[in-house]
């Protein structure tokens, strides 16, 4: 009989690094990538409005689910409380008749949380994005960190979420710990 044990890329854990940073690996959550066909973008802009799926570039909306703007026709929607089917059902009324896809990517991404004054200096070791101006709370960005494609979201001035592909997640975790050594230095 198939053992249904779930094996995450990294077990959920938190650790304090130096005096100004807490690095956490968050538990698996439901993640879907929503895309709307280009021909329906105009309609989407009108029907979505400012709610649910944000239309302003680089912004996020919601508490749970949280919708991250990825592209004019693409969003990442995350939820800790809704499973895949429930989340899809939640999105259905929004997307309605628009030509769209909702693809489960829950298993492909690992979520880190960086908390503390050291979060931005730590990220500056690996990404060129101007965190102070491009990532105020409520904003997200796609960029590269330590050469890896990542998604960043500023939750509060001192709390960031970092999503990375699951395959190099362990490597990035080690990279973050190494880079954090210099944040207080």
């Amino acid at each position: 009989m198939l053992d249904l044990t779930v094996t995450p890329a990294l077990p959920p854990a938190a650790q304090v690094l130096g005096t100004s940073l807490k690095l956490s690996v968050l538990p698996l959550r439901t993640l879907v990538r929503v895309q709307i066909a280009r021909r329906d973008i105009e309609a989407a802009m009108q029907s979505l409005g400012p709610t649910r799926l944000p239309t302003r570039p680089g912004t996020v909306f919601g508490v749970d689910p949280v919708a991250w703007w990825l592209a004019p026709n693409a969003w990442l929607v995350t939820s800790e409380r809704l499973a895949l089917v429930a989340l899809a059902a939640h999105l259905d009324p929004l997307l309605g008749a628009l030509s769209h896809t909702v693809v489960d990517v829950s298993d492909s991404l690992v979520t880190f949380e960086l908390e503390g004054a050291g979060a931005a200096p730590l990220l500056a070791r690996g990404t060129g994005i101007d965190i102070a101006t491009a990532l105020p709370p409520g904003h997200c960005a796609r960029t590269r960190l330590a050469t890896l494609p990542v998604l960043l979201r500023s939750v509060t001035p001192r709390r960031m979420e970092l999503l990375v592909d699951r395959a190099p997640a362990r490597w990035l975790h080690e990279w973050l710990i190494d880079a954090a050594m210099m944040v207080d230095g």
Binding site: L2, T7, R33, A37, R38, T101, I129, T147, W171
Partner: protein, 999 residues
């Protein structure tokens, strides 16, 4: 009052025999011990290595590159061409450090380089005797017989400055990104003034200063600003800036390059300025700035005369800086030679320390009246229309000969142990030029100045041509205000320049900076590379008139100092010799880096384990528990094989391959690229990328397909599976997953935006396990599933979706091994569980995990293509046997048109064929093949090779010229001297009718 700490030079005097009794921004209460060339010496906190050496009377600190001539300290800054020393030892050795920029620290070890056995007696000096035989470009004219290669080893051993490390560098380096509204380069008077003005606006400012102390020339200039001495004003401004939270101050930091989009590269020497064991030695900053203000100052230029390289000849401003900033006299009797006013200030300040200054010679028609009067009052003789014609002394300056010019009959030999020279000033335009700024020759100042508005950076201070402190401060205020306004970042508050008190110096610079007397091959232009007036003259006679050609032929300006003290003299000499105006001679191109940058800093933490991302399989821990031998492939850590205790890797690979052929094997194929394509136009969209017809692909079916670029070259292969009418999943090579997703997206967005297609990469969403072998279906059927695995309803090249053990699954009947195969996809979180379950369930069937090496062997036996290994950037479908399908397809697709190009139709193209080796040993991948008696050179190469465990003989795939028409022919295989023979054969080698994989 005696000027010196001791009455006469004494090696036993603490702090050095040339240390002045008073003065300098050093802490005389804090002695710092260091070693120079093995000798233990003492300096003071605040010294540089150069100032400490000068204080101890160390005249010879290095040897020149070509002729090993003894050289002493010339300057006090980044322009230093002579005092290039080795710091540290062992794996912490730092070669070619400028002693002028090395802060003295306790325990510092330094030694001269490019000399043997010692800097005072260097065998290499013998080359100087042959100097007439070694002019510019000598290596292009000599060493022709018997050949250059004959001499090359000796020349290579002789050439080079400093030793490279052979052991890993134990120090830590890092790179940091930063963004700011305004980057100010230069922490002298102009830079500090610019920062002071800008800081009022609340903008985010980064200000960098190359030295470890702020203030630049204010630290050695006799001046006052707003009633404060220059250094005190500097300290006040620095303290004010430090209190601004938005101002980042980086002392000890060199801006070494400016790049597109206002990106600057900075090198912060952390440990050195922290003067303690810091966590990081150097930090590489990549700064993205909204605006840039350059206040990089200017560099004094030397005079050109016979033997102008004798140790003791220094830049006049450096002599002043050593006296005022470090309390060190460059000599006991110092003569000055100049063509401008600034050397008067240096002479005056030295005379005021009590140092003997007998004479200053000025090549100009008239000496500046006020300055000359001040010098006369200090007992200094001023001689206008006179130049130094030659220097005397070998290892140290003993005197100079002075001659009158332009009708002045003056001639004298003057005894001195130091000569301060000033041939004018050249603004440090390097960073300005990096950003493609243009330069214009200024006749009054006899130098090239930045042309405002030609680069995305504002300039101020001496860089902009300011010749007085008041001008520098005023230009800084104007430049930063204009830059802030231009960028729309606000308007600074009015900040009037404070009252400045200084001795006035005019910008006028005399045209003469070369005495014109004596032997030209002893008049040095480039001190580091030993380029002389004679070399420049010879290059011009030989036709190297373009300045870029002349630079390369003579190597002037090509040493590690990048000609900071030689370029201008070379340019003006060319102008003089060719009769051209300097503007027409032009300048050479300044390129980053402005100063050498430690490679460790550029690498940062991208070393060792952090060098590149390591991607792990969902079942990585399972593979580890099986003692897998991992290899990196496309960034993934993949099991190459699973050797058992005492088993070699080669034996493990054979065992694993045979297990797949005979029973069943389990392979982790998770890195296989997976991309979902959905939408009403999904089929039409995909059909435009593959040589295969995909419009006819029915739901539930899978097709192998090749993808081309616009040139018709194969860029990827994989399967295309239709899950539903408007829902496809394509697979790509493991290393191509990201690239192909971007490729599809680019075509969609740029060429076919109207197509109703949505692309989602899902490579790591799914764990993929391949179950292959005659017993594969039997093992898979032991899992509870709602998918009918029967061969009749689920045949080869089909796909089914359903559940396995209650987990969502996609199962493909495909095979890369040539055996009955299933590729099972489950969400990655279940990848490890699936792997464990299949190993358990298949134990009685002899299930064997196999690695990538066994898979490569199995696919070779089947003759299956491996894109990237069997192909290169020019391989077309026809080259690998897919030409007929590619050309038969009616619909257009990317690359199709190129397949009809004449070159793609040539019958003698390299074509993929099979080889049967004649030896018992395996052929070698990469070995070249040749048909005897045809022509010289290669007829192709082996792309994949192995000793087939199934067939018991060596087999290979090879790209062979016209290979498919040469079936049955013999060829020779050449591998590093080993020659074997092989026969061209058809593929597949194994199971040619494919019955096993369709089972």
């Amino acid at each position: 009052m005696p000027a010196f700490a001791s009455g006469t030079p004494s090696r036993g005097q603490p702090g050095g025999a040339y240390r002045l009794m008073t003065g300098g921004h050093i802490d005389r209460a804090l002695p710092v011990w260091f070693r120079w060339n093995g000798r233990r010496l003492m300096g003071f906190e605040g010294d540089t290595l150069a100032s400490a050496l000068l204080a101890h009377g160390e005249r010879i600190v290095g040897r020149s590159f070509k002729f090993h001539r003894p050289r002493g300290i010339l300057s006090a800054g980044a322009e230093e061409p002579n005092a290039l020393v080795a710091l540290g030892a062992g794996n912490r050795l730092e070669p070619t450090a400028r002693a002028t920029l090395v802060p003295l620290r306790e325990g510092l070890q330094a030694r001269p380089q490019n000399c043997w056995p010692s800097v005072h007696f260097d065998i290499g000096r013998v080359l100087d005797a042959f100097a007439p035989l070694l002019p510019a470009g000598f290596y292009n004219k000599t060493f022709l017989w018997p050949s250059w290669q004959f001499y090359e080893p000796v020349i290579r051993r002789t050439a080079g400055i400093g030793d490279a490390l052979s052991d890993p560098d134990p120090d830590r380096y890092e790179s940091v990104n930063a963004s700011c509204d305004l980057l100010i380069v230069g922490g002298g008077a102009a830079g500090l003034q610019a920062a002071r003005v800008a800081a009022q606006t609340g903008l985010r400012i980064v200000i960098v200063e190359q030295a470890h102390a702020w203030g630049g020339s204010l630290l050695s200039h006799d001046c006052a600003i707003g009633g404060l001495a220059g250094h005190a004003w500097s300290a006040r401004v620095v303290a004010g800036l430090a209190s601004h939270p938005n101002v980042t101050m980086l002392p000890g930091t060199t801006a070494f390059g400016l790049y597109d989009h206002q990106v600057a590269g900075l090198l912060e020497r952390v440990e050195e300025h922290a003067q303690q064991t810091a966590k990081v030695r150097h930090r590489y900053w990549r700064v993205r700035a909204g605006g840039i203000v350059l206040a990089t100052g200017a560099i004094e230029q030397p005079w050109v005369f016979e033997r102008n390289d004798v140790p003791g000849i220094m830049l006049a401003s450096a002599i002043r800086e050593y006296a005022h900033r470090y309390g060190v006299a460059a000599g006991r009797r110092i003569v000055f030679a100049t063509n401008n006013d600034s050397a008067y200030l240096s002479a005056l300040s030295l005379a005021r320390t009590g140092t003997a200054v007998p004479l200053i010679v000025d090549s100009r028609e008239e000496a500046p009246a006020a300055l000359a009067a001040a010098l006369c009052d200090a007992g200094v003789v001023v001689e206008a229309r006179a130049v130094v014609s030659s220097a005397h002394g070998g290892r140290a300056l003993e005197g100079v000969s002075v001659r009158g010019i332009d009708g002045n009959a003056y001639a004298a030999d003057i005894e001195c142990d130091a000569l301060g020279v000033s041939g004018g000033w050249m603004p440090s335009v390097h960073l300005f030029s990096h950003s493609r700024g243009q330069l214009a020759f200024d006749g009054q100042r006899q130098c090239f100045l930045p042309v405002s508005g030609t680069a995305p950076a504002a300039v101020c201070g001496a860089l902009a041509g300011a010749s007085s402190l008041a001008q520098a401060l005023e230009s800084a205020t104007q430049a930063v205000t204009a830059e802030i306004t231009r960028l729309g970042l606000g308007v600074p508050h009015s900040s009037p320049v404070e009252d400045v008190r200084e001795l006035a110096a005019r910008p006028d610079t005399g045209r003469t900076r070369r005495s014109g007397f004596g032997r030209e091959h002893r008049q040095w232009i480039d001190f580091q590379y030993d380029v002389t007036v004679a070399d420049v003259s010879l290059a011009l006679r030989e036709g190297f008139e373009a300045i870029e050609h002349l630079k390369r032929y003579t190597t002037t300006g090509m040493a590690v100092d990048q000609g900071k003290t030689s370029n201008l003299n070379a340019l003006l000499l060319v102008a003089e010799l060719t009769g051209q105006p300097p503007q027409l001679v032009g300048t050479t191109t300044f390129r980053p880096p402005y100063m050498p940058v430690t490679l460790g800093a550029l690498a940062g933490r991208q070393i060792g384990e952090h060098y590149a991302p390591r991607r792990l399989l969902p079942a990585h821990a399972e593979h580890e528990s099986l003692q897998a031998h991992f290899e990196e492939a496309g960034g993934w850590m993949r099991p190459a094989c699973y050797p058992r205790t005492g088993e070699s890797n080669a034996d493990a690979i054979r065992r694993e391959a045979l297990a797949v052929r005979k029973s069943v094997g389990l392979f982790d194929a998770s890195p296989l690229g997976k991309i979902e394509i959905e939408g009403a136009d999904a089929a039409r969209f995909l059909d435009r990328f593959y040589i295969n017809d995909l419009l006819t692909l029915e739901p539930g079916r899978t097709r192998y397909a090749l993808m081309l670029n616009e040139n018709g070259a194969i860029i990827d292969d994989g399967t295309v599976s239709r899950l539903a009418a408007e829902h496809f999943v394509i697979t790509t090579t493991s290393s191509g997953a990201e690239r192909i997703a971007q490729w599809l997206e680019e075509w969609h967005q740029c060429e076919w935006p109207d197509m109703d297609v949505l692309i989602t990469p899902v490579t790591t969403q799914w764990a993929t396990v391949a179950l292959a072998g005659p017993k594969a279906r039997d093992v898979l059927s032991r899992l509870p599933t709602d998918i009918d695995l029967d061969a009749k309803v689920f045949p080869h090249m089909h796909v089914r979706t359903g559940t396995l053990g209650g987990v969502p699954a996609r199962v493909y009947r495909v095979s890369f091994s040539g055996e009955l195969g299933f590729e099972i996809n489950v969400p990655s979180r279940y990848g490890a569980a699936l792997w464990r379950a299949l190993l358990d369930l298949g134990r009685d069937a002899g299930i064997t995990p196999y690695g990538i090496d066994a898979l490569m062997l199995l696919r070779l036996e089947k003759g299956f293509l491996h894109v990237g290994l069997d192909t290169d950037g020019s391989t077309s479908p026809a080259d690998v046997g897919w030409g007929e399908i590619a050309l038969k397809k009616q619909a257009d697709y990317v690359g199709k048109r190129s397949l009809l190009r004449a070159d793609n139709m040539r019958p003698d193209r390299l074509q993929l064929v099979g080889l049967d080796g004649s030896d018992a040993e395996a052929l070698v991948t990469g070995a070249h093949v040749r048909f005897e008696g045809t022509h010289e050179g290669s007829d192709g190469w082996v792309t994949s090779a192995a000793l087939s465990p199934t067939l018991g003989r060596p087999i290979a795939l090879a790209m062979v010229r016209g290979g498919r028409a040469r079936l049955g022919q013999q060829l020779t295989v050449h591998d590093l001297g080993r020659i074997t023979t092989a026969k061209i054969v058809k593929t597949p080698f194994y199971d040619p009718d494919g019955g096993r994989l369709r089972a």
